[in-house]
């Protein structure tokens, strides 16, 4: 009987709420970090993350289940961030709000080098034009494919490839001494 019940429960497809809960659990950290990378402020990032998930929730039942939901989430976050930045007209520096957490087991010298390197990479990313910065972040930090980035940014995979190439070329030149 118990075996039969367990089999039934396992066979039961996850409902929309369960799906969204699983998606939320999987993407809450990445969503917040992308929002933070876009607006550079922890409070704004939190607000955008909350708003994005609430919007997804509102339209969740109408989404195409054959398509991954992640590009949709990133697209909503990106649009919210752009709206916010337009309203504020100033974008804060990414990472200015908080020092990165570093493994305390490493020595003070290595720690200093690591912090210096970290700051240099952040600055270099900061200096990228917005359209290059967003594709770099979506690719190298969030692991989206070119096709997914194209969906998020409303462009084409070819343009994504070109922007990514330009972004990396700039970074390669600026960070040459660390490479």
């Amino acid at each position: 009987m118990r075996v039969a019940l367990e089999a039934t429960l396992e066979a039961e497809p996850a409902g929309p709420s369960a799906e969204l809960a699983a998606f939320f659990e999987q993407y809450k950290r990445r969503a917040y970090q992308f929002a933070f990378q876009m607006v550079g402020d922890p409070d704004d990032a939190l607000e955008l993350t909350q708003e994005a998930f609430l919007r997804l929730h509102r339209h969740w039942s109408r989404r195409d289940p054959s398509q991954p939901a992640a590009p949709w989430l990133y697209a909503v976050l990106r649009n919210l961030a752009i709206d916010l930045m337009r309203r504020r007209a100033v974008r804060k520096q990414v990472g200015a709000a908080r020092e990165p957490e570093v493994d305390q087991r490493v020595g003070p010298e290595a720690l200093a080098v690591r912090r210096q390197l970290d700051a240099a990479v952040r600055r270099a990313i900061e200096r990228l034009p917005a359209e290059q910065r967003e594709v770099l972040l979506l690719k190298d930090f969030h692991g989206l494919s070119y096709a997914e980035i194209a969906r998020v940014t409303g462009t084409t995979p070819t343009l994504v490839s070109s922007r990514l190439h330009d972004a990396r070329e700039r970074l390669r030149r600026q960070l040459a001494r660390y490479l």
Partner: protein, 147 residues
Amino acid sequence: MRPEEHEELKGMLSAYLDQELTQAAGQRVRIHLEDCPECRETLRQLQGLQRLTAQVEFPDPPEEKMQELERRLSVRAPRGLGWLLVSGGLAAWVVYALFMAMLHWRPPTVEEMLGGAVALGVLLLFVSVLRQRLLEIPHDRYRSVKK
């Protein structure tokens, strides 16, 4: 190799690194890399760059705020169905009340008038909230975001 062909292949290294090239284009880059020390060095630097950028840390979301959001999402789950049932139920009651009033018309008592005033007030409040929600729908630009 012509300089322009070298530049073209060099420009494909970023997509090569991401494994986003077609099989044929990837094969072209692989063959070119065997003979071009400059492109091999560029590719090495691009790989180093990827490692560098991957090491940059960004803050995690505050856990208590995420739990609060999770609760909000689960509380809102049955809201759509709730709106549908309340709207449908109220509409049916209004139709039924009007039908009965027309069928058995007589002057209403004071109790009926007071009850009717309260019911009408609740109905007006409900309609105004419903109207507000319906007006917001066309302005929600994210409805059209491709899912």
